[in-house]
Symmetry: C2
């Protein structure tokens, strides 16, 4: 993998990643006249729930469903400059122009929200990156092919290692939102990486549960879950290094978790062989998601890595892939029970979902 660092017109960093066989200079300049990025995010502590919430009010004016010929993630053409100055690319990473969290953020914030002594404030420090998987606007991840998908895995590893090294970053989260149904505002194939200055609630909960399980039973929760699911009735597909299964208590209509067979804390810890094996299983599962119904399912792909500074020896890297489509033309909405009380109710049976996904004929 060859990595080339450049700067956009407003000073944001852009990184071009190419496979070793295709070196390219990527020295095209960003010709746009961009205003400097201004980020006023702050974190506020929700004292009743004991969780941080990011307030990023400058994001209200962000790009919203542009027409295809104005896609900011396409490569630049003469007279049509985009976020990527070069005229072609393989994988590109750049800082989000409307970031929720940024390293260049106003560091001076009052200690608490106005009139709320318990609502502590912190600067919205962190980093939000965009990862473009290909310069071809109409592709999807499921169709990237092995080599490009493997390059993306190496990019996730690069970004995880680099973002983890930033002082103050506590969690690195690569993810992909896919499909207009879940609010994706740019259809060009891309994912994102958030570097949070705190351990987000899901990871914090899992870590708490893992520790409680060890204290009460002496057991290793991740190892027990992976061990039983690998040979259980909810396996969708697997190879020598990875297994994809529907979790026993899936909370989304279609949900698959991909676990490596060897315990590793994060993506950088995967060997080359394990990365190749991941790509084979992941492209297989994405193909099943795309073909389960007449139209491809919207999905969220969510990497669960170990926190940067806590519980790394307890963690077990996995990818959670889930869709809100519950039937053709029908979506699962998070309403009162889920959004109000956090109590998930699902209409699909995990063993049935696994069987349906296994039965999909993969091209």
């Amino acid at each position: 993998m060859i990595r080339t660092s450049r700067r956009l017109a407003d000073g944001r960093e852009i990184l071009y990643f190419d496979d070793d066989r295709s070196p390219r200079a990527h020295d095209a300049q960003d010709t746009r006249d961009l205003p400097p990025v201004s980020t006023h995010s702050q974190l506020r502590y929700d004292a009743l729930l004991g969780e941080w919430v990011a307030i990023a009010s400058h994001r209200q004016s962000r790009t919203f469903l542009p027409p295809p010929d104005e896609c900011p993630l396409d490569p630049s053409r003469p007279g049509r400059p985009t976020e990527i100055p070069d005229s072609s690319y393989q994988v590109v990473v750049f800082e989000n122009r409307f970031p929720s969290l940024a390293t260049e953020v106003e560091r001076e914030v009052p200690p608490t929200a106005p009139g709320a002594p318990l609502a502590r404030l912190r600067p919205g420090f962190g980093r939000c990156e965009v990862v473009c998987f290909t310069d071809q606007h109409d592709r999807v991840f499921a169709e990237l092919g092995h080599d490009r998908a493997r390059l993306v895995v190496d990019v996730w590893a690069d970004r995880t290692a680099e973002l983890s090294a930033i002082d103050g970053v506590e969690y690195v989260f690569p993810f992909e939102n896919h499909g207009e149904e879940i609010g994706v505002t740019l259809s060009h194939p891309h994912g994102q990486i958030y570097a949070y200055p705190y351990v987000p609630p899901r990871a914090a909960s899992v870590l708490r549960t893992v520790r409680r399980h060890r204290e009460t039973s002496g057991g290793d929760l991740f190892a027990e879950v992976v061990g039983s699911e690998r040979s259980g009735p909810r396996v969708v597909c697997a190879n020598g290094h990875w297994t994809a299964f529907v979790p026993a208590a899936a909370r989304w209509p279609y949900e698959v978790q991909l676990f490596p067979h060897r315990r590793v804390p994060d993506i950088p810890a995967l060997t080359g062989e394990e990365r190749d094996a991941f790509v084979r299983v992941y492209l297989d599962v994405l193909g099943r998601f795309a073909r389960r119904f007449d139209t491809p399912m919207p999905y969220i792909a969510s990497w669960n890595q170990a926190p940067v500074n806590d519980g790394r020896e307890d963690w077990w890297l996995h990818l959670q892939l889930f869709s809100i489509r519950r039937a053709p033309g029908k979506l699962k909405y998070l309403a009162g029970s889920e959004s109000g009380m956090g109590a998930f109710i699902t209409d699909t049976n995990p063993e049935d979902v696994a069987e349906q996904l296994r039965a999909v004929v993969v091209a």
Copy 2:
């Protein structure tokens, strides 16, 4: 309030509630030929997150956006029987025909999910009720008027007391999902009440936080929050018994919490005067939600009551009202950060939202 209990054709209970001035027999029979309700819900324990998930796969075939002339919540007319046999009603409560949780549920379930020793199973025991606020199809709660809204509060109190008394029910949750944007499948003005056999995650988290706050600081978290917000810059409206404010760390684009000034665990504990005062504040806030933008905002109204058997003396009843609309024509979608990691990022500033809601001219 006059309460009349009847049975629907399939044996489900229906309760008519009328104000004292309008007694009515409600002895119309349900003439439909309904199959018996069959509920195969089960709860599964998500061992990694330490939370229960309800699996209700029989719900896939539930009624979905029927045309207005087939609304099952309208009163019955000759030749057009609905869920409510009588030809008119004030407030009606009945058991959901497609319940996620039910008292009449298969009680014999295996101890764990197939091949998953850690995924404990329990029957999907509980109760799911529908609350129709009026027999007028095109009304909304904001337009019910004081007397009808007060009757609804008394109905919530009745249902909370009765459902709390069912052995095995640990939490009673009245809520309203409002607006097609959040997946409401029936537009007739109605809410729901879920009686869970466990304390749902949000209430469990708040209770944990309240206790930790007391242990670490000796303080009373609810009292401190209510005390500071009552006189803070985020108050939307208030009267002698209730204050509605935007929480300091609001996680939804538009979020208002309504707290009574006196500490009570749940709706039944409110005095008549407090119930009247709630109605005045709530209708005021709902009117502001309806008029903030050109079209009424979709919303979720979510009653946070004390658990039935735990932490009642620690709790402080409140209503959480929130919308996913962030701007005209734009919705906040829960994507990777929120749905994947539980990390909320919001584009609106709580102090600004309070000011915008205060500035709405209420008719």
